[in-house]
């Protein structure tokens, strides 16, 4: 059974004329890692807010259709019930940090305090979560003394520690260096393998191709494509509609017109590209 179930969901922010989400139908199975891509303004953040209950609980406006997560309908539940099942890491970590805590350790424990987790368990969970995201050495620092990348990891950790059934991430690696990005993707992949459902708005297609099970391409509030990373990320539609695409895909697409890419599919990862291009090289160039 799908843990996330959106049926005919349309949403319009207050004082706007066009809906930010239009007739979204989306079912996600438990433990699936779904990446959501799209140009800025396509509705990625709005979808994140809708899944996280910020819409309709915090943002007003007009929501229609059904939003159901873990068997509960968002319009028919309190925000308190909702946050026990769903966690959201914000796009801008600075907006997420509570401002009420002096250390990173306390900041990460904040959510657990609010839902009344016993003190001993809280300590264990905070330490585990910090280890998973590689920030144990920041425990005693002030959240505001950190770099953008460090703050982003703190924001992510403070959601992971809640162990939500559904983890919603709005560009969680935007401030991270490439290796940091890979580490965060790989930590999130681990959570998905443990059964956590992950929905992540993200631009970095190379890592999406490596780690996600499924990709949804949003455009102007509608689902344009929905499928496996290869199906979606190599689609000609993406390039036409101004989505960011992998350099591997785009180079192979051009090479195909020059007769230098002979596979019937296009690559999204380094490995696929290397395999596909190798036969085009003359033998001595391949070191044979």
């Amino acid at each position: 059974m799908a843990i996330v179930n959106l049926t005919n969901v349309t949403y319009k922010y207050p004082l706007t004329e066009t809906p930010a989400l239009k007739n979204i139908n989306l079912q996600v199975e438990e433990g699936q890692f779904v990446a959501v891509i799209g140009p800025n303004g396509a509705g990625k953040s709005t979808l994140c807010y809708t899944l996280a209950g910020f819409i309709p609980h915090f943002f007003k406006g007009e929501l229609s259709g059904m939003v159901e997560v873990a068997g509960i309908e968002s319009g028919k539940s309190s925000l308190h019930e909702w946050v026990l099942n769903v966690g959201l890491a914000f796009q801008n970590p600075f907006n997420q940090i509570s401002g009420a805590k002096y250390t990173v350790f306390e900041e990460i424990a904040f959510g657990l305090e609010n839902i009344g987790v016993p003190r001993d368990e809280m300590k264990v969970r905070v330490e585990e979560a910090m280890k998973l995201t590689g920030i144990s050495d920041l425990a005693d620092r002030s959240p505001y003394s950190l770099s953008g990348g460090q703050q982003q990891r703190v924001a992510l950790t403070s959601i992971l520690v809640m162990q939500p059934k559904v983890l919603v991430l709005d560009e969680p690696t935007s401030q991270l260096d490439p290796i940091g990005t890979r580490e965060v993707f790989s930590a999130i992949r681990k959570m998905a393998e443990r059964g956590m459902t992950v929905i992540m708005a993200e631009h970095k297609v190379e890592w999406i191709a490596h780690f996600a099970d499924r990709v949804i391409a949003l455009l102007e509030g509608e689902i344009l494509l929905d499928g496996t990373p290869r199906e979606v990320l190599t689609s000609d539609l993406l390039a036409e509609k101004g989505f960011g695409i992998s350099r591997y895909t785009s180079a192979a697409r051009k090479a195909r017109t020059l007769g230098l890419w002979k596979r019937d599919y296009l690559p999204v990862t380094l490995e696929e590209a290397a395999e596909g291009f190798a036969p085009s090289l003359s033998p001595e160039r391949r070191g044979e």
């Binding site: 140009p39 303004g41 490439p178 101004g242 989505f243 090479a255 090289l281 003359s282 391949r286």
Partner: protein, 268 residues
């Protein structure tokens, strides 16, 4: 106007040694990308260019000005700085006022302020949004307002701190175009970025930093070819550079045109 840095050390009040002996010359009209892991000292370094930070020891000179002798306000006439987070920099009620703030403060005559503002708005494709409150714009367009408000100051040196963070493909292309125009006008551009593909496609000189020091400094293809050294500062070479290496290309390629050219040559 050169930037000259001599044996620069900087230690934050917390005791963190963020810069440990940086010596560096950036010539007038150069376009430099700075890469390196989070915490390498990239932002700390460029904040010395406009006096936001002062050396713990060593020297930073912008043209003939030693930054210790000049206020941030004074240095603003030579160095424009686009912050990583546009929200740290925007405060006006509408886009035009925001963009006019910098040049007005620098004391340009009224007509020149107008011309600079119009030019900056055109370059950033904001001409149709001049009356909008910056905070009613999407983060992507707020970034463009932040860029425009610095461009309009017409400083010889412009610094971008992570300009492509969270931007989509169209916005990244707009930012690349701004950098291209600045290059044509002979401006010095220093850009911090984690987006190594963007760096490879837009800069001729690349500096890789690690733990408060300069690890590599040179022409883009030479620096990006040093895969092992880059890995120590958590930087992966660009996608097509890695692919070229994997395919056994002798040359280091940095973008699609170079990749396809070598592929074509080696397929014969």
């Amino acid at each position: 106007m050169n930037i000259e840095i001599c044996n620069l050390h900087f230690t934050y009040p917390s005791g963190v040694q963020a810069l440990r002996g940086i010596s560096l010359t950036i010539e007038a009209s150069e376009q430099v990308g700075i890469v390196g892991q989070n915490g390498a000292g990239k932002t700390t370094l460029v904040r010395h260019f406009n006096g936001l930070l002062q050396p713990t020891s060593g020297e930073v000179k912008i043209g003939d000005w030693d930054t210790r002798q000049y206020s941030v306000a004074k240095l603003a006439s030579r160095v424009g700085y686009v912050f990583q987070n546009p929200d740290e920099q925007l405060f006006s009620r509408d886009v035009r006022t925001e963009v006019a703030f910098g040049p007005k403060n620098l004391g340009y005559p009224k007509e020149q302020v107008q011309a600079l503002v119009t030019d900056a708005l055109e370059m950033t494709q904001l001409s149709d949004k001049t009356e909008t409150n910056p905070y009613d714009l999407s983060p992507t367009w707020r970034k463009m307002v932040a860029i425009a408000s610095v461009i309009a100051m017409d400083t010889p040196i412009v610094i971008f701190d992570e300009p492509t963070t969270g931007q989509d493909a169209a916005s990244v292309a707009r930012i690349a175009n701004v950098i291209r125009v600045l290059r044509e006008r002979g401006k010095t551009v220093v850009t911090i970025t984690h987006d190594i593909d963007f760096c490879a496609e837009n800069f001729e000189r690349v500096i890789a930093m690690s733990q408060g020091q300069i690890l590599l400094d040179g022409r883009v293809n030479d620096v990006l070819g040093q895969e092992d050294i880059l890995a120590t500062t958590y930087v992966d070479p660009p996608q097509l550079t890695r692919l070229g290496r994997r395919l056994g290309f002798r040359e280091t390629v940095r973008n699609e045109a170079e990749f396809l050219a070598v592929l074509h040559k080696q397929s014969l």
